[in-house]
Symmetry: C2
Subunit: 168 residues, 2 copies
């Protein structure tokens, strides 16, 4: 904390709120309106809240729930394959699986073929959650589709996936 601002400066602040010295566009509301990074990160944070609420009844965070769903749908994948499927770094996969293992949802099996690899299998308790997890996620999707319009929603997902794949 460095100083105190007086009333005159506070008034100047209010003007600054609604003007943009940077690009001669005055009364621009948002600073990074046209930035792909900014809008994508902000949307990701916003969506995290939606899916967080959806998985809250299972006491799972969205990353945990998506990892578990992947383990259930693709039984026996190696950790490296899971990290690739979920587009996360391998240490992140290690920790997500640590958490799910501690909760009794997954088991690790070291491969007899290659002793470095570890296969992941869901426990029966996890498999029993499968439909409920899919439905919880599907309910959020259905709600957003309704709010945003079905066509717009599918188009948006396609656009976002398209950018992802264009960046490898």
């Amino acid at each position: 904390m460095v100083g105190v601002i007086d009333g005159r400066q506070a008034a100047a602040r209010l003007v600054a709120t609604y003007s943009c010295i940077a690009n001669d566009m005055r009364y621009t509301a948002a600073v990074f309106d046209h930035c792909l990074y900014f809008n994508t990160s902000a949307l990701a944070r916003r969506l995290e809240r939606e899916w967080s609420a959806a998985f809250e009844p299972f006491d799972l965070t969205p990353p945990q729930a998506f990892m578990l769903r992947a383990v259930i749908e693709r039984q026996g994948l190696l950790q490296s394959e899971l990290s690739e499927a979920l587009s996360i770094a391998r240490p992140t996969a290690t920790r997500a699986l640590d958490g799910l293992e501690a909760k009794g949802y997954v088991e690790r099996y070291r491969s007899a073929v290659d002793g470095r690899e570890v296969s992941i299998l869901p426990t029966p308790k996890a498999v029993r959650l499968r439909n409920a997890l899919n439905e919880a996620s599907g309910a959020v999707t259905a709600r957003l589709k309704k709010e945003l319009g079905g066509g717009a929603f599918a188009g948006a997902v396609a656009v976002i996936r398209g950018i992802r794949s264009a960046l490898e």
Copy 2:
């Protein structure tokens, strides 16, 4: 670590890799292809890498750099206004500003009008970075625009921003 998987099970794993019991679509490559949350989060992580490299010469992470750019472009905003402008929670803004203050890029001024509020101003050292920061970000944008096609890029940003604003 619970057990060891044998060769036969390993073979079954490979089949599982490329089939999807969940929805009768076999040979589906990606598990959550149609999920808005999954694709958006994954894209956000990918873009974080791009912008991270862009701001690396300034020893700033993307969140730090975007906060600093907002402070420079909207001089004198309150912390609450900055957190809203950047779509982050107020504690996150507090910590981002702590870091920028420690680096000598921003100064906090407690409002004389309302002693709870704090106005943020960039230091001259920060203002001198302004063009370079904008250009660093613009260079990434330009490169991606070229890779993805200008129309597709602008359309994608519009779509993503549209979803953001539809969710308030």
